[in-house]
Symmetry: C2
Subunit: 360 residues, 2 copies
């Protein structure tokens, strides 16, 4: 089997032991004689998978009992609409912090539903840093932010603390489960699974019961968070295989040592790459401001577009996958989600050093 | 490995050769060194899977060039809202035919959006037959029907032909790909995948380009059909593994001999079971009227609730899975989607005969 180093931005690398386990029981899940994906979502066998995924998420992320964990579909992009449809009314204002393309998209969907206000933005800095100086509107429905910006390679180190009556909503698609987070400070967390949680096709929502009560009752059933809370995310057929894969990834995180270990390892991986960039004497340039650097997506450029192309071409030949920057910004990006090993990062640093020696 | 006969109503049985192929390349898709679910949705390798699934659907269902095939998420239940959000305006009326629980749910979502009219209903007959005598409202936005009713075991044999300016919209979640259908007579077909198409997690939409032009421009991006048509269903990350499984199921259908073969085989399977019911001298009673019987979901009852329970209990012990009727109606139901073999149906008939002999 070809040796590859998977730095895809999502869908991304999954832990090898997780894939092996899923392969091994692919045709015969727990001696049922069936694949997980052939089980009824109303069967005991599937329900135990479903409940395990939910319970492990609560345990690993230390989710308090005052919150619900929901499994939805449609990715973060559908949440961009579900959030204002549930919580934005004619008499309040949705507040958004703009830190990159995803937050812009979230704002755009909210603007279709009601009145919006930009509470802070780093757009004028080309989104190279996390915005500061938040100014809320009058009567804010909520404040929305994107905790990690995959395209620009920036990440919130600490979340803003808001007045008690203002719910903080965070799109954590690209850094959920990568570090400890103060759940109590956030009223709604959502995340497409395809970075740290599992394959694409399932969206995790963690919502405070207090916010849950505020869902607009005329919201379409499948976009109303109460539908999922009241039916254990089994109102209709959920993406059963994706949730099964999520349960295996969560088991893996727990076996690794939970978020304490994962966060430390992610820190090491990021430091390794940022050091290589910072010690390259300007050959590699990090595109994010140092205090805003993401531990998930390391973005950098080379001295010329031609060198960038040569770098990406040679990297691909050596088995490095997914190093091209997002099509909006170009350059290079190494996405180092939980399942990307320290060894892969070391191999990349070695390749970067060699490439610099050969092309300086 | 335990021998099971999978009659689940969905998620349901998948072809064994499809599961074996997916298992075999689970860790190393086409020598990429990665699982399909680790591929970027923007990679050439994934895109070839995505395009293959779309092209095979068009080929097998003979979809004309005047239609688009889209891959969405959220199941049929999310389509219940997407349809009126796109096509129901303040100056037209959504028409619904009620043939069971799913069409009731579809209507309920449309009523949140605008004015609705029930064009026909068999509710007064306990949904035991397909409604007739359609009466459209003035200025109809569309007419919606459910082509196969999993819970009550009824199915439309032929679709109503409407005036040229009235789009017919069909929820074909439970019988798409089971028989030839006159696509040109239907403006929008949608189907959750988990019966005949693959695992849960992907929803197929087949929409005429004419109807596509009528999508309301203020519809949330992820619910607007134009978003999917304009971006080849790659606006955001699609459920890549579900679409991959869909592509394998479609290859299998083609290898089997396409819809001509599949339809004939489904007919045989259904006839086998209905004959067993009709020849049982009233021991087994089909719950659907004969002219409305579904070729996908064979629903029946036994003389008493106690015998039904005993039947289900003994069937389970013999390896028959999923024979309990839907929790709304009770009784028994054998779902015989494409991947359920003739041999499984024969085994069930044999079991039914034996059970009757032992319990008459």
């Amino acid at each position: 089997m070809k040796k590859v180093y998977n730095f895809n931005a999502g869908p991304a690398a999954l832990p090898k032991t997780v894939l092996e386990k899923a392969q091994q029981e692919f045709l015969n899940f727990q001696n049922t004689g069936m694949s997980v994906m052939e089980l009824s979502h109303r069967s005991e066998e599937y329900e135990s998978v479903h409940v395990k995924a939910s319970n492990l998420l609560k345990e690993i992320l230390e989710v308090p009992d005052t919150y619900e964990v929901l499994f939805m579909q449609g990715g973060a992009s559908l949440q961009f609409s579900a959030i204002p449809m549930n919580f934005l009314h004619s008499n309040n204002i949705a507040n958004y912090i703009l830190s990159g393309s995803w937050s812009e998209k979230a704002l755009k969907e909210a603007e279709k539903i009601g009145n919006c206000h930009i509470a802070s933005s780093s757009k004028d800095k080309g989104y190279s840093s996390i915005p500061s100086a938040i100014q809320l509107s009058k009567n804010p429905a909520y404040l929305h932010l994107t905790s990690n910006n995959t395209i620009f390679g920036t990440q919130w180190r600490e979340f803003p603390v808001l007045p008690a009556n203002v719910p903080l909503i965070a799109d954590m698609s690209s850094d959920i489960l990568s570090r400890k987070i103060p759940i109590e400070d956030i009223s709604l967390i959502y995340a497409g699974a395809q970075k740290n949680l599992g394959p694409s096709g399932v969206t995790v929502v963690i919502i405070s019961k207090q916010l849950l009560e505020q869902c607009h009752k005329n919201t379409p059933t499948m976009l109303n968070y109460q539908t999922y809370a009241e039916n254990n995310s089994l109102y209709n057929t959920p993406p059963t295989f994706s949730i099964y894969m999520l349960s295996l990834v969560l088991e893996w995180v727990k076996e690794q040592g939970g978020l304490t270990y994962i966060e430390e390892k992610n820190h090491q991986k990021a430091q390794l790459l940022y050091h290589a960039i910072d010690l390259s004497e300007g050959f590699y340039t990090g595109t994010a401001k140092k205090d805003s650097r993401s531990f998930m997506n390391v973005t950098f450029t080379l001295p010329t577009k031609e060198l960038t192309q040569l770098f990406l071409h040679q990297a691909k030949e050596k088995g490095f996958v997914g190093l091209a920057g997002h099509r909006l910004v170009g350059g290079c990006r190494a996405s180092i989600y939980n399942a990307v090993t320290l060894e892969s990062c070391k191999a990349l640093v070695e390749f970067m050093d060699n490439f610099q020696s050969n092309n300086r």
